[in-house]
């Protein structure tokens, strides 16, 4: 009998009608409404507009003379050598940046994790560039790396460099040097995130490994690194999404909106900016933005599929 009664217990309560639930939780709508309204205007509308604009030639100068061009902007984008040059540049830049930034962040985090004293001071120092503005850091970086600047002077004195190097005019160096400056700015983020990950690892794993005679090196490769996979995955996803949109650094280190005379420092977003605000090709610029967004989405999906945060 008792079991019967228990079995009947979780009877579903009668469903509350929708209007009643809406009335009861009306405050919910009031709390979200300011945000939702702004979001519709400044979030959803621009998104729709960006798709709309890709089918038109549109200029800020003559906004009323909008002409329909169909997929013309898309074909133009796919055939535009400058856009592909920009994609090539950003690919080089981000490969260097992502590897160095996360590699350095991982190294520093691993060391900070193992030391007993001074961890906080080091962490504070390493994080300083993260909170400093791009304009300031690029002003400093530009002067440090310039021909006649201190870094080149040290390299020339050490005979690693034959003479002053005018790297801004070079074909590949600007992207690499900007990646180095950005590594200096951003490795602190990787350090903090990976360090937080390391502290969340069960200490007993290390104790057991130590008893079994494992050394520091083995512990790092066999325990720490595999267990940091979620953090590394997160960093990589965010780095690719943000990194492919990099352009402010190029601009603030003193290149033109076309990335220099030979477009040696042109990046996709910089090119989009030039098309929109220098040439007033708004429809075309919008298309370039969409093309980049699709590329980013494809890379992100690829990452989720082939390098997931957790093993299946």
């Amino acid at each position: 009998m008792a079991t019967n009664a228990l079995a009947r217990l979780p009877d579903r309560p009668a469903p509350i009608p929708l209007w009643k639930r809406i009335a009861r939780h009306g405050w919910g709508y009031i709390f979200v409404s300011p945000w939702v309204l702004l979001y519709l205007v400044f979030g959803i509308y621009p998104l729709v507009l960006s798709f709309f604009l890709t089918f038109f030639n549109y200029s800020f100068v003559t906004p009323d003379e909008r002409t329909f061009v169909g997929i013309g902007n898309w074909i133009r984008g796919l055939e535009d050598p400058l856009y592909w040059k920009a994609i090539y540049n950003i690919a080089i830049n981000q490969s260097v940046f992502i590897i160095l930034k996360n590699g350095l962040g991982l190294l520093i985090a691993a060391l900070l994790f193992r030391i007993k004293y001074g961890g906080r001071i080091f962490r504070t120092i390493y994080f300083l560039p993260v909170i400093t503005s791009t304009v300031v850091l690029m002003t400093i970086g530009d002067n440090l790396a310039s021909p006649g600047g201190p870094i080149q002077k040290v390299l020339i004195d050490a005979h690693l460099l034959d003479g002053p190097l005018f790297w801004k005019a070079d074909q590949t160096l600007p992207m690499i040097i900007i990646a180095l400056i950005n590594t200096w700015k951003w490795f602190g983020i990787s350090m903090i995130i990976l360090l937080a990950g390391m502290y969340s690892i069960d200490k007993r794993l290390y104790e057991v490994a130590a008893v079994d005679g494992a050394n520091e090196w083995q512990m790092f490769w066999k325990i720490t690194l595999p267990l940091l996979r979620p953090q590394l995955f997160f960093l990589l996803v965010v780095d690719i999404i943000n990194g492919l949109q990099m352009f402010g650094e190029v601009f603030t280190i003193g290149f033109s909106v076309y990335g220099g005379v030979n477009n040696q420092a042109l990046t996709p977003v910089l090119y989009l900016y030039a098309q929109a605000f220098d040439r007033s090709n708004v429809g075309y610029a919008s298309t370039l933005g969409l093309m980049l967004a699709f590329l980013i989405a494809a890379l992100t999906v690829f990452q989720f599929k082939f390098f997931p945060a957790e093993d299946e």
Binding site: G28, F31, V32, P34, W35, V36, V41, F42, I44, Y45, P46, L47, L49, Y58, P63, I108, L111, L112, R114, F122, R123, T124, I125, Y126, L128, P129, I131, T132, S133, T134, V135, V136, L137, T139, I140, G141, G148, P150, I192, I193, A210, N215, E216, Q231, F234, L235, I241, L244, Q245, T252, V269, L272, Y273, F277, V282, A285, S286, G289, L292, A293
Partner: protein, 277 residues
């Protein structure tokens, strides 16, 4: 014994790397402050040397050439209003998403999360077209209003508020507290760490932003510190380069001071961002 010895060696190597790294990170800042205290000619001839005689010509020069106090005021107006509006709107929405099961909540929240993955570049051109059409170009609201809708901030605060026990909210409701009282008296005080995270990240982002002001604030009397520096840099003749270093130092000092005062929150803010994923 053997274990201990290898550990000693490891510690020496570790501290050596960490100290070299710390110097490499600090040096550029030292370079900046050091040069701000020299004359332009000295910077040109010996950029790395200490000043032979400390000069404040750069700092006084900046005040003569550029209305730094106006730039500072503009930066403050923008950063404070963006931070306030953003944090308040995000907290309100986050509370509803976390604690009020209104019909449609999950659909709206799910849609929000989807749009969070959209790269920012997509919004650049159409948002400018929109702002241009409604005539906000050249006004602060062009920067303040659109930046108030960070999906990410709502997400961050909501994740935190979900952790606040439902019993607290329910008990208050039974005691007859209204939703506004619950929000102000119970939820906000408990959600302070998340609010601090959002406020810090938003303030920093706005203070350091040069691109928004570059796009929308075309009149010099509306420029911010970052935009002022960017525009100023191109116009300063070489012999006045001390002014550039004085200005970069002046821009960096406030955010670094804030950072030193609340560095734990700063660091946690960034760690929270990753943990909430």
């Amino acid at each position: 014994m053997k274990y201990l010895r290898s550990n000693w060696l490891f510690m020496i190597v570790a501290y050596t790397i960490l100290i070299i790294g710390a110097f490499a990170v600090i040096y550029p800042f030292f370079f900046m402050v050091n040069n701000s205290l020299k004359t332009g000619r000295e910077i040109m001839h010996s950029p790395t040397a200490l000043p032979t005689e400390v000069s404040f010509k750069g700092y006084t020069g900046v005040f003569d050439e550029l209305n730094v106090l106006l730039l500072l005021k503009n930066s403050m107006i923008l950063a404070v209003s963006i931070t306030l509006l953003n944090t308040v709107l995000s907290a309100l929405a986050a509370y509803a998403f976390a604690k009020i099961p209104f019909p449609g909540r999950n659909q709206i929240f799910g849609f929000m999360l989807m749009t969070m993955m959209i790269p920012g570049v997509l919004f650049l051109i159409p948002t400018y077209v929109l702002i241009y059409r409604i005539g906000w170009v050249g006004h602060y609201q062009a920067l303040i209003i659109p930046s108030a809708i960070s999906v990410f901030n709502i997400f961050l605060i909501r994740q935190f508020m979900v952790g606040i026990p439902d019993e607290l909210v329910e008990a208050a409701r039974i005691d007859g507290a209204g939703e506004i009282t619950i929000f102000l008296r119970i939820i906000l005080p408990l959600a302070r760490p998340a609010l601090a995270t959002v406020a810090i990240l938003t303030f920093m982002g706005s203070w350091n932003d040069f691109f928004g002001p570059l796009l929308y604030l075309n009149r010099p009397d509306k420029w911010t510190l970052q935009l002022g520096l960017l525009q100023f840099r191109g116009t300063v003749p070489g012999e006045n380069s001390e002014q550039i270093w004085a200005l970069t130092t002046l821009i960096t000092v406030p955010i670094v001071l804030i950072y030193f005062f609340i560095q734990e929150q700063f660091v946690k803010a960034f760690a929270n961002v990753s943990l909430s994923k």
